[in-house]
Symmetry: C2
Subunit: 283 residues, 2 copies
């Protein structure tokens, strides 16, 4: 079965379950778990009938479809999600990738339906808070409000980073910036910022960066050629973090003389033709 056509069996997570789930049965309140996930130190107390559901998704399963009715806002508990939009002609625009503690679906509130779709790139899980509870002024929990506000502000900031990778720069620079973004997020999750596994395919990266997927391949090859990183399939290791950052700062199309020369680990020889940036490896 196709990767993308794996359609969710339960598109509307609140349709088949009782809406109000308290922390009953001796287990911990899912609201409390959500607050902890999002870094809140406060305790919600037990008086709330706030509806928080945990949902697990297999790799390729969709969290919500484009155009689906807005029924909940989601907080990523584990895994990775891809948010995208499909144009009438089938062209898929990837808007971003989201990981632990990030919010999804918030942009659906103002329209009543999701302008984008999100699918899991690996086995994942989310906490879902119903739209009603997000919007209804009564029954609001201060701790949750703060958590939501912060998460949404982060989402807004991240959307700004989308402009960084797509705007007015060479393909290698876009990829360098994207790799640095991923590295930062890995570090924020306690993982190694220098070595990680890409959760998304080349085509997804290409759509996210606004280039052809062949260009992504060639840009990876280029970054590896200047010894900034090494890549094997989806395994990435950043070899020269400073060099990568320097390259990411380039805004011009011609990155001729702006080459990443600090931290010279090897002789900049060979001058293999083809690229304006001096080559620094055997290739």
């Amino acid at each position: 079965m196709s990767y993308y056509s794996l359609s969710s069996l339960a598109q509307t997570p609140f349709s088949n379950v009782p809406l109000h789930v308290r922390g009953v049965g001796g287990e911990r309140s899912q609201l409390a778990e959500l607050l902890q996930l999002m870094g809140s130190a406060e305790d919600p107390g037990w008086a709330s009938d706030m509806s928080v559901l945990m949902r697990r998704l297999r790799s390729g399963e969709t969290l919500f479809h484009q155009g689906a009715r807005a029924e909940a806002v989601y907080f990523v508990r584990a895994g990775t999600f891809k948010t995208f939009r499909i144009a009438e002609d089938g062209y898929e625009q990837v808007l971003g990738f989201s990981g632990r503690a990030e919010v999804l679906g918030f942009d659906a509130i103002c329209m009543g339906q999701h302008p984008t779709a999100s699918i899991a790139l690996e086995d994942s899980s989310v906490y879902a808070v119903s739209m009603r509870d997000i919007l209804r002024p009564s029954q609001r929990i201060p701790a949750l409000d703060q958590v939501v506000t912060l998460a949404v502000s982060r989402a807004l900031t991240q959307q700004g980073e989308l402009a960084d990778v797509m705007a007015a720069v060479a393909a290698e620079v876009r990829l360098a910036r994207f790799m640095l973004q991923l590295s930062s997020r890995m570090e924020a999750c306690g993982q190694s910022p220098r070595r990680f596994r890409l959760r998304m395919g080349r085509r997804d990266i290409a759509s996210h960066l606004g280039v052809a997927h062949e260009t992504v391949s060639r840009s990876f090859q280029a970054l590896a050629r200047w010894s900034l990183l090494s890549v094997s399939n989806r395994e990435v290791e950043i070899l020269d973090m400073n060099g990568l950052k320097t390259l990411a700062h380039c805004t011009r199309r011609h990155l001729d003389d702006i080459d990443p020369l600090r931290s010279p680990g090897q002789a900049a020889g060979t001058a293999q033709a083809g690229r304006p940036v001096p080559d620094r490896a055997i290739a």
Copy 2:
């Protein structure tokens, strides 16, 4: 004095004024005005000591600087703002343009400082709500909460549109999409969606679309050549809304045979060389 160097005299709107401004002195509460601006039907009552300030800005004046401490969230009352970020090398990336009833500065919450800057493109005014009031769980006003939630959701949606104009399409298509976005917003404000005045310069548009400013000029010329719109300086009139939408739907680089042919007002003759899209005017 330079357009961009016009630095604000009062960068921190809450530094010189008493923090708690009630609706005293017989005039209407600014909180009530803010709620009305944002489309809320509810009345906040008079018990709140929520701090809402109105601030006027001249054209070119800065609402908040990049890196400035996050002190308030702003709601545009009138005018137009440009939100942008400046890289270390001085390259300016325009992230968006905001008009009436839109929220600005919300992305500063999660970091404590503004990742972007905003300046007024014309004489404008905003309502400022202090960060404290946005975050503090007590003293919150249900009506304001709803309004903020909706505005932020809209902002998130708009940020998604940024991807539309910058991603993977020809320059003319980017411009067409941007013009349609502007048209929609003009209509939402009760203005004519077919004829309006651009508030921003070509360079701002170029940075927003991710192309060179010369390319913006040429794209305007192209759109005018296919009779989709007419442009004179910053005055724009959309002549063929459907044709513009059809063009905006193109996602491929080669827009050869996908030309906007419906609504044929004149003979598609002349075949003036140079562009893959059939020309339809005398030029």
